[in-house]
Subunit: 289 residues, 2 copies
């Protein structure tokens, strides 16, 4: 999947994303599902789901397996990659997946339950020293001190990259079993981040163990990324992506489906919205060609 | 089901109606699904449906069977009755099913693809001599001449009833194999109805065979009834029931789901909307108690 141009790129491989994928595939579109690892934990843990019509009494795990099997039987391309950033240029969405860039005429956001902030008042500091993509914003912090709040081991790679360009990189792991960190990275003890320091701009981070680390930049990595941070300009209402009954967001060619559009957080709603979004995105990409 | 009070009455036993039913049942609501016979013909005829996630490659018939099996496994009450009329009084919806009246705190309309008019300019004559429920409007036509356009044999019972109170009842069958008609009913040859006669009020009906029958009343019976004729005041937009993302119509306690709310006419959309409507109606009826 290098530099390919897709008709429909779907973020999220849960019920909404897979339903969108099979419907866009049936419409003969070039489709890829980008699955983010930490999602769908509540569905995976459900012992028995009785309210998805036609599949009574399945466990969440079995249901997801049968959904994936359905998609694979239709040769839907599914990749497990982290979406780093998305930008729009000249009618195409450019999607940065790790180090690969792909392009798409349309996007479907099906990233599941809304993002919960890692830090108090996190929103207030976004773009003022707080970010979610070290690879993207790294150069701004050349020669400066930064701190990485890491939700998972995938943040280690970015920490090591930042160690090459920053003066000091602090690494606060929120997970066990730390892997390979560059010797220039200062590993902090595993504790909760407490509060961002700084009136307007980030000046540091207080930790639950009482430490206060002075830095100019904080990166929160490995958490699910809020969709409006991923897709600039995306309209959020009551913590959910605002959509109409055609699953259109406020951005042309960008659709959303499933839990990220609001309650009820249920499989049948996600599958139904995925279908509507998949067909709408297919129609949109046909028109754009 | 005599004079019972329900929490949720669901009109339509297709994917949307059954999905609503299982979800309201899980919420411990007293639910009944009223299935109208002529519906869902396109789903029943589908040889293979590939885009309902988790059940790939089912025929429409098999899919409907598994949906019904799911509902029956949860003891959902399903009755095959024609809804004659619905009225609201004192916070309850009164639903006339044949000769039975049931009451409900909430309604879910899941009656499938929108009604197509039987006659040209049919809308213009509704309430001006043209109606859909002989049992309801019959007394107005006592001692007068009427004509019944009958889509199916269930109209025969009403024709015989009208024969008792009207001066002359003409019966235009649009189906084969006429059953038992009262001898006072004049059976017309099977032909298409052409046009309503009369400037403001109904004065008669022209038939495709050239006949012109003078009557003061025309009843169209056995066709699917347009939802806004069934539920007075229901808002229709572009030939579909207008709903918001919570599947609320413009009337309190009245929800809609599935094909009747608009395209795409697909199983997954119907099932998803049925879930949302079923949960919303459950919440509404809990609040009303």
């Amino acid at each position: 999947m290098r530099h390919e141009i897709y008709d429909v790129v779907i973020l999220g491989g849960g019920p909404a994303g897979l339903s969108a994928a099979i419907n866009a595939t049936i419409r003969n579109k070039k489709v890829v599902v980008v699955e983010q690892e930490p999602s769908m934990t509540s569905l995976k843990k459900a012992p028995k789901i009785d309210n998805y019509l036609g599949l009574p009494g399945s466990s969440g795990q079995d249901m997801l397996a049968s959904f994936n099997e359905h998609a694979r039987s239709m040769d839907v391309e599914i990749v497990a990659r982290r979406v780093e950033a998305i930008g729009e240029f000249d009618g195409y969405y450019n999607i940065l997946l790790g180090e690969n860039m792909i392009q798409s005429l349309s996007l479907i956001i099906a990233t599941g339950v809304p993002y919960k902030a890692t830090l108090p008042r996190e929103d207030d500091y976004v773009g003022k020293g707080l970010g979610y993509c070290a690879t993207c914003d790294g150069p701004i912090y050349r020669g400066k001190d930064i701190l990485i709040v890491a939700h998972g081991p995938e943040a280690e790679y970015e920490a090591n990259f930042m160690a090459e360009i920053c003066r000091q990189v602090y690494y606060l792991p929120l997970y066990k079993n730390i892997g390979e960190l560059d010797e220039r990275v200062e590993l902090l003890p595993r504790t909760r981040p407490q509060a961002v320091m700084g009136k307007d701009m980030v000046e540091g981070l207080e930790l639950a163990n009482g430490q206060a680390i002075q830095v100019e930049g904080i990166f929160i990595l490995g958490a699910e990324t809020a969709p409006d941070r991923l897709v600039p300009g995306l309209l959020i209402e009551d913590n959910h992506i605002k959509v109409n009954r055609q699953m259109e967001t406020n951005l042309p060619g960008v659709y959303a489906a499933g839990d990220c559009t609001g309650a009820p957080y249920q499989v049948a709603k996600a599958v139904g919205e995925g279908l509507v979004a998949g067909l709408a995105a297919s129609k949109y990409s046909s028109r754009k060609k």
